[in-house]
């Protein structure tokens, strides 16, 4: 009878070349895994430290009064930036209301109707170009298209500037979302006698909504933090807004203005406004995810 120990040794191979090779491969595997983990932590450092700074400096002034009061005059203390919170919400909302339908319908066209057509190619190309354009150009565009035409700095002008900024992001992520919908769903729908319109609106779009929402949230997060498109479209205001056709305060412009002031209180307020902005974006993001992923 075979000795079970030698049998096992022979089975797994005492060939030295083979075992060194195996050792080398498993060592390489461990090294790379370790490297990935280390780099992930490294990537966390700038993100976490910014967040830490914003929370640490923003927290002291954070209170209810910040949302209910108007910004203090230069050198004064107290007050809040309720008008800027509302202004940001309204202008991002306007931008979204303008850009999201346009971008999603355009994505549907270039993805479902004529993916290889000339128009689709042109739209795709333009959208990719637009993602690389500095945000201040969106502001210049809205300045010329809205401010000069209406003769007023306004929330509308700010909304249009943000819409131009959001459009390509939403369009391109929506296209990817639609491409991600399995062909099998489309075939099942067409196979039951559905028209293209029915297939798109009953099967493809609902399936793509969670991924489209990710793109929309990315765009919202970016737009909410942008200063450049707003400085010469919506300008700023010390007062509560009463119409969409007047200069409007926004968190990003407030941060920009206050952080460069030589007064300690204003600088602290800029930090608080940054914290509020981060919280607003996070809150909308979480809400959107909860609402749109529930169905699946």
């Amino acid at each position: 009878m075979d000795n079970p120990v030698t049998h096992a040794a022979g089975f797994f191979g005492d060939n030295s070349v083979e075992s060194t090779k195996m050792l080398g491969r498993s060592l390489g595997n461990r090294l790379l895994t370790g490297l990935c983990i280390a780099l992930s932590f490294a990537a966390m450092i700038p993100l976490a430290s910014i967040l830490y700074l914003v929370v640490k400096n923003g927290l002291p002034l954070l209170g209810w009064s910040i949302f209910t009061q108007l910004p203090p005059a230069a050198g004064m203390t107290g007050g809040g930036f309720g008008n800027a919170v509302i202004g940001t919400l309204i202008m991002v909302g306007l931008g979204l209301a303008i850009s999201a339908p346009l971008a999603i319908l355009a994505a549907l066209y270039i993805c479902e109707y004529e993916p290889h057509g000339r128009l689709a190619t042109a739209v795709r190309f333009t959208a990719k170009m637009l993602t690389g354009i500095p945000s201040i150009i969106c502001g210049v565009f809205a300045f010329v298209a809205v401010v000069l035409v209406t003769g007023k700095f306004s929330a509308w002008a700010g909304g249009v500037a943000l819409a131009v900024l959001m459009l390509p992001t939403i369009l391109l992520t929506s296209e990817q979302a639609l491409l991600g919908v399995q062909r099998a769903y489309r075939e099942a729908s067409y196979g039951l006698g559905a028209t293209r319109f029915q297939t798109i609106f009953r099967v493809v779009l609902p399936e793509a909504v969670p991924a489209i929402m990710t793109g929309v949230m990315l765009a919202v997060a970016r737009a909410a933090g942008e200063t450049a498109p707003l400085v010469f479209t919506a300008l700023f205001s010390q007062f509560w807004m009463s119409s969409l056709m007047e200069p409007t305060a926004s968190l990003s412009v407030l941060i920009y203005n206050f952080s460069t002031m030589p007064f300690e209180h204003q600088v602290k307020m800029a930090w608080s406004a940054s914290l509020v902005l981060v919280l607003l974006v996070t809150a909308t993001n979480i809400t959107a995810q909860l609402v749109f992923s529930k169905k699946h």
Binding site: H116, Q182, A184, Y185, R186, E187, A188, S189, Y190, G191, L192, G193, A194, T195, Q198, R202, V203, P206, E207, K295, H296
Partner: protein, 275 residues
Amino acid sequence: MTDTMTAAPRPAAVAPIAPAEAPDRRTIISVRDFNFFYGNKQALEEIKIDIPEKQVTAFIGPSGCGKTTLLRNFNRMNELIDGVRHTGDITLAGRSLWDPALEVITLRRLVGMVFQKSNPFAKSIYENIVYGLRIAGVRDRATLDETVERSLRGAALWDEAKDRLHESALGLSGGQMQRLCIARAIAVRPKVLLMDEPCSALDPIATARVEQLIGELKKDFTIVIVTHNMQQATRCSDQTGFFYLGRLIEFGPTGKIFSNPSEQRTQDYVTGRFG
């Protein structure tokens, strides 16, 4: 499973190519001089075949032989692909599929399809089945409820699904999903049911259930099934067509194709010498 096999009526094997004029069965789909191209690549060559009504017709042949392409022409599903064209004609109950008066959406309601990979929508079981009715504008709750029960019973899924009609269809097992897709296809009461390798992703037990179902469904529907599994063709079909390199090599009663084919290539394929 064996029940269906023995119970399946086998028409007396006489002619090597099935004649359309046999008195005991009528032709529902007739293909004449049909050529089909993906771009410049010809996928089907001079196909001529008559599919008998309310029987199970199986298409067999090695991968790339054109059997699925022909099947997907029966409901014009191939036209979702860019750059396809055809010559010749296919008729359904005597009427050309490309008759301008026959809308493609009508055709697809008459000729339903079950796909290789089960593809239920990410909706409830109930909504999956009534999809075909909803897109046709049916709103009446009683009609919808009744269709759901009829279709699920028809697809032998009622007992397993009746208590979870409003749960997501994606919670079903693989075999149940495929039967749900069959239920969804028969919900719109088609005349013909096309099945593209419906069991290729199923385990043997689920396969047996679907095959048994096919035997029951042929009472009401004409079934055309593409399969890679030759045992499956012998178990559940009445007629078999053997395709090779885009041509229909031989078509006839299943028993004859598998036991005494007229063509050497059919013989070689069914005995496993190639393919």
